[in-house]
C-alpha cells in the first residue's frame, strides 16, 4: 500500500563503496526481487530500506516521506529474515503479537490480527507452541505471519526460503505467490540468489552487479532482452553462450562473421556505421539446434548430460568456458562427434563492449 522511491542511494563502509547511485521506483502492489551474485549488496540494500543499515548517500522515500533517518519501527515496514529470527522463548502467538503489544494496541485488536494471520497461514493449531516445536516450513510461516499482523506498508523478505529443503522451498514459494495474490495492494521487496524464485515471484526483477543496478525489468524482459552481457549470462541456466565476431552485413537483420567460417544472423537492427563492428554473439543453450546449412557454431562434443527432458551437450572449448547446447529429449551417442549448430534470428543477441545493441 505504498510507493517506494530510491534516488541516488549509496552505501559505503569507510572508504569502501558497496553500492552507489541506485535509482529505483517501486509502485504499490509490486513484488520486486533483488537478485545478483554473492556480495553484490542486495541484502545490504534491503537492510537499508528496513533501516538496519544507515544510508550514506541519496534519498529513500516511502510514500513521499523521506525515511533516511527514521528508525525501522516508524518506517511502516516488516521484515522476514533468512533465519526466521523467531523469539525462541515466546510461543507462536506471542511472537506474532510482540510488535502489536509494543505499539500498545488493544487486546481485542491484537487477538483479531493474530487469528486472522494464523488463519491465512494455517497456523491456528500451533499458536501455543514454542518455535522449537515447529518444522522449518512452519517457522517460516510464523515469520511471515509476524509481518502480516503488523499490516506494513512494505514487506521485506531477505532470502526467506534458503534455509528450507528443496521440496519445502517449492511449496513455500507457491504459498508466498498465493499470499501476494491475496494481498494485491501490498508492496514487497524480496531478496534471493535463486533464479527460479526471482522468475516465478517477481513483478519486476532488479539485477544488482558491480555496486549498481545492471537491469530492471519483468522476468521475461530480462530473459528475452537482456541489456548487457552480465544480465544475459546471469539469468538463465546454463548461462548464455557468447562468441566473438564481426558485423559483415547491416539492416533490419544483422549478419555476423564468426571464427571457423561460421556465421550468425540476428534480428537486432544495425546501421551502415556498424559495418566491421566487433561484437559478441549470444545464444542461450536452449535456443541452439542442429543444422545442415551454414552453422553459427561447429564443435566436437566433449561430454553430455542426460537429464531426461533435455540432453545437455558440452563442447570442447580451446579457451574459456564450455559452449553448451540443450537438445530436447534423450539423445544418445553424441560424444566425440562434431555437430553444426545454429539458432533462429530472433534468438540471437548482439553485444558490443558488453552492452546489448538493442538498447543503443
Amino acid at each position: 500500500m505504498a510507493d517506494l522511491k530510491m534516488t541516488g542511494i549509496a552505501k559505503s563502509y569507510g572508504d569502501v563503496n558497496v553500492l552507489k547511485d541506485i535509482n529505483l521506483d517501486i509502485k504499490t502492489g509490486e513484488l520486486i526481487v533483488f537478485v545478483g551474485p554473492s556480495g553484490c549488496g542486495k541484502s545490504t540494500l534491503l537492510r537499508m530500506v528496513a533501516g538496519l543499515e544507515s544510508i550514506t548517500g541519496g534519498e529513500l522515500k516511502i510514500d513521499s516521506t523521506v525515511v533516511n533517518d527514521i528508525p525501522p519501527a516508524e518506517r511502516g515496514i516488516a521484515m522476514v529474515f533468512q533465519s526466521y529470527a523467531l523469539y525462541p522463548h515466546m510461543t507462536v502467538r506471542d511472537n506474532m503479537s510482540f510488535a502489536l503489544k509494543l505499539a500498545k494496541k488493544s487486546k481485542e485488536e491484537i487477538d483479531a490480527s493474530v487469528s486472522k494471520a494464523a488463519k491465512i497461514l494455517q497456523l491456528e493449531d500451533y499458536l501455543d507452541r514454542l518455535p522449537k516445536a515447529l518444522s522449518g516450513g512452519q517457522r517460516q510461516r510464523v515469520a511471515i505471519g509476524r509481518s502480516i499482523v503488523r499490516d506494513p506498508k512494505v514487506y521485506l523478505f531477505d532470502e526467506p526460503l534458503s534455509n528450507l529443503d528443496a521440496a519445502l522451498r517449492v511449496a513455500t514459494r507457491i504459498e508466498i505467490a498465493q499470499l501476494k495474490e491475496s494481498m494485491p495492494e501490498s508492496t514487497m521487496i524480496y531478496v534471493t540468489h535463486d533464479q527460479v524464485e526471482a522468475m516465478t515471484l517477481a513483478t519486476r526483477i532488479v539485477v544488482l552487479a558491480n555496486k549498481g543496478i545492471a537491469q530492471v525489468g519483468t522476468p521475461l524482459d530480462l530473459y528475452e532482452r537482456p541489456e548487457n552481457e552480465f544480465v544475459a549470462r546471469f539469468i538463465g541456466s546454463p548461462a548464455m553462450n557468447l562468441w566473438p565476431g564481426k558485423v559483415v552485413a547491416t539492416g533490419a537483420q544483422t549478419k555476423v562473421q564468426l571464427a571457423d567460417g561460421c556465421e550468425a544472423i540476428s534480428d537486432v537492427p544495425t546501421t551502415e556505421a556498424d559495418m566491421g563492428l566487433k561484437v559478441n554473439v549470444g545464444v542461450r543453450p536452449e535456443d541452439l539446434r542442429a543444422t545442415e546449412a551454414t552453422p553459427a557454431y561447429t564443435g566436437k562434443v566433449d561430454f553430455t548430460e542426460l537429464l531426461g527432458e533435455v540432453t545437455q551437450i558440452y563442447f570442447d572449448a580451446p579457451a574459456g568456458e564450455h559452449i553448451i547446447a540443450k537438445l530436447p529429449g534423450i539423445v544418445h551417442g553424441l560424444r566425440g562427434k562434431t555437430i553444426r549448430l545454429t539458432a533462429a534470428a530472433d534468438k540471437v543477441h548482439l553485444f558490443a563492449d558488453g552492452r546489448s545493441l538493442l538498447y543503443r
Partner: protein, 381 residues
Amino acid sequence: MHIAGQKSSLSWAVHISVLALVALWLFPTVGLLVSSFRTSDQIATSGWWKAMFPSQQNLTLRSDAPELQVQEGDVFVIEGMLFAEGKNAEISVWGVSSRAIDSFVAGDSAPLKKGGTVTVQANGQYRMENTEPFSGTRGTRIFVTATTPPEFTLRNYQNVLFDPENAEGMAKAFINTLTVTIPATIIPIVIAAFAAYALAWMEFPGRALLIAVIVGLLVVPLQLALIPLLKLHNEVGIGKGYLGAWLAHTGFGLPLAIYLLRNYMVGLPRDIIENARVDGATEFQIFIKIILPLSFPALASFAIFQFLWTWNDLLVALVFLIDSTGDTTVMTKQIVELLGTRGGNWEILATSAFVSIAVPLMVFFAMQKYLVRGLLAGSVK
C-alpha cells in the same frame, strides 16, 4: 582415529579419572555428614566408615549415688543399670580401677576398694553389696569394655544450630552468611547484565577498549585491592558493615560477570535483535524482553559461581566485615574460631562444617543443569 559410535580406546582412562574425581569429592563429604550424626565417644573410638557396625568402646560409667542404697536384711545394696535406657550395649570385660579396666568378665563379682563387692552383668545391670552402709556422695566408677550397636544422634545439630545458650553456634553465622551472599550475588549480576548488553550490542566509541580493560581486570588478584579499598571504605564510612562487604564482592565479581555475560550475549543471533528493532522495541525493551530471557543459562551459571565463592569466602569477610561485637561473624570465620577453641570436639567441627557446605551442595545439585549449559554456552544451538 575416532569413529562415531565406537568407544575411544581412551575411554577407560576417562572412566577411571571420573571415578577418581567422584571418590575424591564424595569421601570427605560423606565422612563429614556421617560424623556430624555421631557422638564424640563414637568419633573417638572408630572411623565414620564403621558407623554402620557395632563398635567396641571403653566407657567410664558410674553407679548410682550411695543415697539410693537400700537395706536388705543386714546388707546394704545399690542396684541399677549402668547404661541409659534403651541402649543395647553388651559388656565383655570390666574393672573397678582405671589401671585394670579388663580384670573381670561379665557376671563376675569384684571387691570394692572401700569394702563390699560389685557384680556387673553383660547387659549393664549391676549390684553392689556391703555389710556397712555405702558412704560418700558420688557413685563408684566402673570401667567397661562394651560392644554398642550403631547409633546416630541429632544432638550435634541441636547443639550447633538450635541452642540459644551456645555462643559458638552456627545459627547466627548462617544468617550472617546469607546476608552477605545474597546481595553480593544479585548486585553484580544486575550491573553486569546491563554492561554486557551494552558491550555486546550497542555501538559507541571506545567499546573495544572497554572490553579489553575488563579482560585485563580478570587477571588482577584481589589481594592487590584489599588495603586501598578498605581505606576508601573507611573514609566513606562503610568500612564495618554489610554494605562494604557487598560492594567489595560486587567489585571483585564484576569483571568475570561482564566477560561471561557479554560473550554469551554476543553469540545471540543478530537477526532476532534486528527483528525486535524492526518490531519497534527500544534498546531497553530489547534488553528486558529478548536478551535477558535468552541469557538465562549464562545468568544462572554466573549466579551459581558468585554465590558459591561469596559463600565460601573468608578473606573478604575478614577484611571488610570487621566486627568486634561478633554480630556479623560469617560461617567461614566462625569455623576458624571453632578450630581454635574447640579443636578437639570433632563432632562440633564436623557438624558446623556440614552446615556450611549444605547450602552450596543444594545450590549445586538444583542448578547444575544451568552450570553445565552456561559453561558450554554457544557451543550448542
